[in-house]
């Protein structure tokens, strides 16, 4: 059994990549192959790389401790046009939480490795950390904003999260920037800040390496917003590639999953509740 490790580095669309892979495997003179088990023990590794004018196919063939490399090039112009660069994923939403208290911003953090997922909710006066249990979300911590909170008519706030520092969250609101630890009850550490609040968030596609900009359509608080997906390189002036209608004005958009999915907070005009959604891109084929 020969194992083939097949990697497409954005050279071609996944569909075409799979087609090429099948052809390649069949060409291995009838040898059986198991493309599903692409692990480090594979004898043959094939990589598809894109260069300006060509697709470079590299085959790494291991024979014991030796490895040999074989190359082939395919002119890109020779490959029929496909939708790789132009396909637009669908926006999907998943309701995570709703409450009546005002929510300024929220973050959904998928932790994995057995740790409970977290939902971090920024309210006017407190930061609440919920953890996903078997029977739902349970409040794990509540950090008062204390002196940092300011009475505003229409307060806005923003949560920032980085996978590099999963135990911390940054809060920008009311002219302050604060750091909060998610693992203990230590208070916030705040200082003055003039950072403005974001109006959108990047959202990456799980199907390809494209990254989009997710934004609200920009109405006032009396009309329902739409989530719009635009080209991330030049978000201004771009028409939306796709839209997702929401049930009220969108309060904020953040991301706790390294752009694989965003978290949107929406005020449901019908129920008067603040709803927290997980927004992700589904591959459209």
């Amino acid at each position: 059994m020969i194992c083939v490790n097949w990697t497409n580095h954005e050279a071609v669309s996944e569909t075409r990549s799979q087609q090429l892979k099948s052809v390649f495997v069949e060409e291995l003179q009838g040898k059986q192959s198991d493309p599903a088990t692409a692990t480090g023990n594979c004898v043959v590794s094939v990589f598809l790389e894109r260069t300006p004018a060509k697709i470079v196919v590299t085959a790494d063939v291991e024979n014991g401790r030796d490895a040999r490399f074989f190359f082939a090039t395919i002119p890109r112009a020779g490959i029929p046009a496909e939708n790789v660069a132009t396909s637009v994923p669908r926006l999907e939403k998943e309701l995570l939480w709703q409450q009546t208290e005002r929510v300024l911003d929220a973050l959904f953090v998928r932790r994995g490795n057995g740790a409970s997922d977290r939902l971090i909710v920024l309210q006017k006066e407190v930061l609440v950390v919920y953890e996903k249990q078997a029977d739902g979300w349970k409040a794990a911590q509540a950090k008062p904003l204390g002196e940092a909170s300011v009475m505003q008519r229409a307060p806005r706030g923003e949560l920032s999260f980085s996978l590099d520092q999963p135990e911390r969250v940054k809060i920008v609101f009311a002219g302050k920037s604060c750091q909060a630890s998610l693992n203990d009850a230590s208070p916030l550490v705040c200082q003055q800040s003039t950072e403005p609040v974001r109006a959108g968030m990047l959202l990456a596609s799980a199907c390809d390496s494209r990254v989009w900009w997710l934004r609200a359509s920009g109405g006032d608080s009396t009309t329902p917003d739409k989530l719009e997906l635009v080209n991330s390189s030049v978000p201004q002036g771009q028409i939306a590639a796709t839209e997702l209608a929401m049930l009220g004005p969108i309060v904020s958009i953040s991301s706790g999953e390294a752009l694989r999915a965003d978290t949107a907070v929406v005020f449901n005009l019908a129920t008067g509740n603040y709803e927290i959604y997980r927004i992700a891109l589904a591959c459209s084929q």
């Binding site: 490790n5 990697t7 580095h9 480090g40 990589f47 790389e49 894109r50 260069t51 300006p52 004018a53 060509k54 697709i55 470079v56 590299t58 790494d60 490399f69 074989f70 190359f71 082939a72 090039t73 002119p75 890109r76 112009a77 490959i79 046009a81 660069a85 980085s162 996978l163 403005p196 609040v197 974001r198 109006a199 959108g200 990047l202 990456a204 390496s209 990254v211 900009w213 934004r215 609200a216 359509s217 920009g218 719009e228 635009v230 991330s232 030049v234 978000p235 201004q236 002036g237 028409i239 390294a258 752009l259």
Partner: protein, 514 residues
């Protein structure tokens, strides 16, 4: 697999950085229809330029500046779009024989130079002949030009679609004219682009260039009325000018990118185009010691160079050709193993260079970045017991020593889309023995030679840097190629920036550029 992970991390890091660049105002709907008019103000870091392709030096850091400006006034026979397609330019069609040794290009008819004279195949041949590699000859036949190579040239299109292969005509006064979307109107503090053999070319220092729209352009008048280029702008000042609205497009130095991002400036980054690396001087006998080379190579911490010193504005380089050009760079690994390096160093005789007297490291390029990299190389090497002394001005003000250095830090700017041509030129410039592997168009042979160079540690890549530019929000249809061509002929400006312009442009059927 590791590469994929690295790439994802690289992407995610880049994206996290890019997070801050987006404006926070509410989205506004703007028109997507290009508008004519306006002057694009461009600021570049290079202090001088020459628009004469014959004077360009392969691999020099100024190549990018020269090429970008030359692309305003000159055209090539073909171009390569972002989808991998060769697009006709001055050549409308082409063909080659079975061995790819003979190529024929049909020259587009009714193309005029900016002075109104017609373009002929002879002009094309005359312009390209001095620029071609030794194994390639060109001749005009009727309305075609024929390229004849001594061996297979499967990469001729890549070659002609990039680098210096512009078509121009030398005037009697030595100046050059082209068929591009712009023409050079005025050069402040210097002269017009002169001929290559003119004594003034190499030393011409043009600090201000004004390019006006070429109404006779075969591809249609550009949207912009003019492009104003200022050279030799300090990096911080360029960013400042962009931020206060004194310029619409500025070249950014790598150490300015983070600052630009923090200031929510629109930043563009190319694929890695400039390679920084080390070369041993083979003329110095003590540097031929393989263990010494290996020890030095293992001591180099490329990740820190790219990730910390260059603040993630560069990538660690393990190969000579970048991944986007060769497609197989991921097969090379720039290993760092300090312990192994120490062992090798200890096994070396005490009098080997680097022990009793330091290895002298000469930076072949100027600039703070090169100096910083050289210092880091010295620090890394010192950690393993190899003494490296970066050469520069001593503290007492004396000039650098006249003795030849054992090590050189070089910078190489990618200039061609032909990986074979690129590798050959790089090796030649760095005095590496000519490839015996034959035609480097073949990726197998090219890979083999590159591997040989790297295994013998004739050259040691360090980091690869993209080009960076900052853009004003009024710059529209900004679609540069990943390999650094700006393609300003397709750019237009938002109305707020568009000044009280001149008359509407020529609206020929093919006015809009593809």
């Amino acid at each position: 697999m590791r590469f994929i992970v690295l790439r994802w991390l690289a992407v995610s890091e880049r994206l996290v950085a890019l997070l801050s660049i987006f404006p926070f105002a509410a989205a506004s709907f703007a028109s997507t229809k290009p508008r004519y008019g306006g002057v694009l103000r461009v600021e570049l870091l290079a202090s001088s330029t020459t628009l004469d392709p014959r004077a360009w030096k392969a691999g020099s850091r100024d190549f990018g500046t020269n090429e970008r400006l030359a692309a305003l006034v000159f055209d090539r026979l073909v171009a390569l779009d972002n989808y991998g397609r060769f697009v006709p330019q001055l050549a409308t069609e082409w063909s080659h024989d079975a061995s790819s040794r003979r190529w024929q290009f049909t020259i587009r008819a009714d193309v005029k130079f900016s002075d109104g004279s017609a373009l002929s195949a002879a002009d094309v041949a005359a312009a390209l002949a001095p620029l071609l590699p030794e194994d390639l000859k060109v001749a005009a036949t009727g309305n075609s030009v024929v390229f004849q190579a001594t061996e297979q040239r499967a990469d001729l299109l890549e070659l002609l679609a990039s680098g210096r292969f512009f078509v121009f005509r030398a005037q009697p006064d030595g100046s050059l004219v082209g068929t591009g979307a712009f023409k050079l109107e005025e050069a402040g503090k210097g002269t017009r682009p002169a001929a290559a053999d003119s004594p003034s070319v190499a030393q011409t220092s043009l600090q201000r260039l004004n390019f006006a729209a070429n109404e006779l352009c075969w591809a249609g008048r550009p949207f912009l009325d003019a492009i104003d280029v200022t050279l030799g702008v300090p990096p911080l000042r360029a960013l400042f000018d962009l931020q206060v609205g004194k310029a619409e497009l500025v070249e950014l130095a790598p150490d300015m990118v983070r600052r630009a991002n923090q200031a929510n400036t629109r930043v563009w980054a190319s694929s890695p185009l400039t390679l920084y690396g080390l070369r041993f001087d083979d003329a110095q006998p003590q540097t031929t010691n393989e263990k010494l080379r290996e020890a030095l190579s293992l001591s180099l911490d490329r990740m820190t160079m790219a990730g910390v010193l260059l603040q993630k504005q560069a990538e660690p380089a393990a190969a000579l050709l970048p991944q986007w050009l060769s497609g197989y760079a991921f097969l090379f690994h720039g290993e760092t193993n300090v312990e192994r390096a120490k062992e090798l160093r200890v096994s070396l005789p005490a009098n080997v260079a680097g022990g009793a007297s330091p290895l002298r490291l000469q930076t072949d390029v100027s600039g703070d970045l090169a100096r910083l990299l050289a210092e880091r190389v010295a620090v890394n090497a010192r950690q393993t017991g190899i003494s490296v002394q970066p050469l520069g001005k001593a503290r007492d003000g004396n000039a650098r020593t006249a003795d030849p250095a054992e090590l050189h830090l070089f910078a190489w700017r990618i200039f061609s889309l032909s990986p074979g041509e690129e590798l050959r030129s790089l090796a030649k410039a760095q005095r590496v023995e000519e490839a015996k592997e034959g035609n480097l168009s073949d990726p197998d042979r090219r890979y083999a030679w590159e591997r040989k160079i790297l295994e013998e540690r004739k050259l040691m890549p360090l980091v690869a840097l993209p080009d960076y530019a900052g853009l004003a929000t009024t710059v529209r249809d900004w679609q540069p190629s990943p390999w650094g061509e700006w393609q300003l002929a397709d750019v237009w400006l938002e109305p707020a920036q568009a000044p009280k312009t001149t008359a509407p442009p020529n609206s020929a059927p093919n006015g809009a550029r593809p």
